[in-house]
Amino acid sequence: MHIVACVKQTPKSDNVKIDPATGCLIRSGAASAMNPFDEYALEEAVMLKEQLGGTVSVITMGPPQAEAVLRDSIARGADKVYQLGDMAFAGSDTWSTSYALSKGIEKINGIEPVDLVICGKQTNDSDTGHIGPQVSAWMKWPNAAFVKKVVSVNEKSITVERLTEDGSEILELPFPCVLSVVKDINSPRVRSVKGRIAAKRAEVTKWTADDVAADKNKLGMKNCPTRVVKSFVPKREVCSANVEGATAKEKAAKLVEILKENKYI
């Protein structure tokens, strides 16, 4: 079993600061880490490897410093790590990013055939959820998104449960396939001491766009189909009234009175 987890280095969720004047992300001093949703993807890959045997490879696309999330992946149980790094990738939207990742996965597939690709539900910086389904579209492999549980797995296929607004659905996907997982699926483990040592020593394979035979006309800010034309900090309107009272009982009675008076209840 060869599983590839896709990860991204993103700003830590609790550390996002936006310059209100420019609407730009303040990057200086902002700590980066593995996108929290990708931790579940990697953990699921490692758990499946422990169950079935095999290899977990991790791929990321990003600037030189993104190497840190690959070393972190080794500490969390990955075996091999690959970084797509090239100025040609810079500024790619999800369409282009998923294309680049699919070319990287194709190359990994040439080294050792890939059975399964696992992505997080979305990233915490762009929140699109596009990458899993789009990687599968480029690879022409079947996929399932919002996967909350692996129901069963064998050498040929995997049966998963995915979340819908009104319940859940069970699908069987033959390998190779692509899953995007939600946080229900597992509880990511803490990094082991052995893993941390391995992370320091790990060899990171680095590939450019040419190395993975990617068509540069499909990459980067200039060639990707979408573009950010404006960004701004959202305004919030405030019209708050405190519900006053000497005791909890008084406050509750007052609140109920207000809600009834205004026909909210």
């Binding site: 969720s13 996002v16 609407g23 992300l25 949703f37 999800t94 369409w95 539900k121 915490n124 910086d125 762009s126 929140d127 959820g129 596009h130 899993g132 789009q134 599968s136 579209a137 492999w141 079947p142 996929n143 399932a144 998104a145 919002f146 049966t159 979340l163 819908t164 607004e165 009104d166 319940g167 659905e169 069970i170 699908l171 069987e172 996907l173 939600v182 946080k183 229900d184 990707c224 189909p225 979408t226 573009r227 034309v229 404006k230 960004s231 701004f232 900090v233 919030r236 708050s240 405190n242 009982k249 406050k251 509750a252 009675a253 609140l255 109920v256 207000i258 809600l259 909210y264 209840i265």
Partner: protein, 328 residues
């Protein structure tokens, strides 16, 4: 690009019923179509869904493209995405809005690659730029800390998934009709290796969050799984549903499907009662569209208290029982 005309919306219809998002998309799409002087078309995929066309006409659609086949009974990504890509290649829409539901997020992403065009995710506002007729889709990023307006200048259709409940439903115009175009399902081409096995209905005994008019949500301040029973009592009394912020879900007190916020669901009830929720921006992203917000919190300085229309400083374990008493 001149060949590409009309505004399309994808009307999600699972298990024989139109998703509420279909009416929201019709509302958003109608304005875009009118601004462009083009037609508003709805795409309907499924089995035994043709009957939904009437409803779509009565809510603003001029044309309904229906692909009705037993193979489309359940949602399988590849099958739906291939059908959509073929329809787009044949009829060449100018703009294409899909719902940012779980199904829509996955479908729009896959279809955009098959079609070869750009996609904006989870927009909360869509407008036509007067100068060039392009779609400007605005969406929250960085956990709702920043809004970004995104365009797709060089490929058509410009695709966008629209966050549920960011638009009102289109008004009903009884008797309004339109043109139905039947699109053939191609069983040799519209295939997937994935196999749909089973649908399991939510075990939740409460209302579906997307349809609840009153939501009683709990946060870290609830403190334990059992605490949600008290919230449920209040929700039941008000004819509403229970929900949660991220912390109770992460702590295992309540299932992920009840999570409201950027990484959970978006809701827009008439009344949202936030109990022991601090009001992180990620949570606000999922509920700030509520008509009226009540916050119950021990901390008068909590961000939620500034967003709420009515802020009650106090312990939810004192306030909620007293509310239940007052409601008797």
């Amino acid at each position: 690009m001149k060949d590409f005309k009309n505004v399309w919306i994808c009307a999600q219809a699972q298990r024989g019923k139109l998703s509420p998002t279909a009416y929201e998309l019709l509302n958003a799409g109608r304005k875009l179509a009118d601004d462009l002087g083009e037609k508003l078309c709805a795409v309907l995929l499924g089995h035994d869904v043709e009957k939904c066309a009437k409803d779509l006409f009565e809510h603003g659609a001029d044309i309904v493209y229906v692909c009705d086949d037993p193979a489309l009974e359940n949602y399988v990504d590849d099958v739906y995405a291939k059908v959509l890509a073929d329809m787009v290649a044949t009829y060449k829409p100018n703009k294409f809005l899909l719902p940012a539901t779980n199904l829509g997020r996955s479908l729009s992403a896959k279809a955009a690659v098959f079609i070869g065009t750009g996609l904006t995710a989870d927009a909360t506002e869509v407008i036509i730029n007067k100068e060039d007729g392009q779609l400007h889709a605005t969406r929250p990023t960085f956990g709702g800390n920043l809004m970004a307006t995104i365009t797709c200048a060089h490929t058509r259709p410009e695709m966008c998934s629209l966050r549920p409940m960011s638009y009102e439903k289109a008004p009903l115009e009884a008797g309004r009709t339109g043109e139905t175009v039947k699109v053939a399902f191609n069983s040799a081409k519209h295939t997937s290796l994935a196999k749909f096995l089973q649908f399991i209905k939510s075990e939740g005994d409460g209302l579906d969050l997307s349809e609840a008019e009153v939501i009683v949500a709990g946060g870290r301040g609830v403190g334990k799984a059992e605490g949600f029973a008290l919230l449920k009592k209040l929700a039941d009394r008000l004819g509403g549903a229970v929900a949660a912020s991220r912390a109770p879900v992460d702590n295992g007190w309540i299932d992920y499907r009840y999570q409201i916020g950027l990484t959970g669901r978006t809701v827009k009830p008439k009344l949202y009662i936030a109990c022991g929720i601090s009001g992180q921006i990620q949570h606000l992203a999922g509920m700030s569209g509520s008509d009226v917000i009540v916050a119950i919190n021990k901390d008068a300085q909590a961000p939620i208290m500034k967003v709420a229309n009515y802020a009650v400083e106090g312990d939810l374990y004192d306030i909620i029982p007293a509310m239940l008493e007052a409601l008797k």
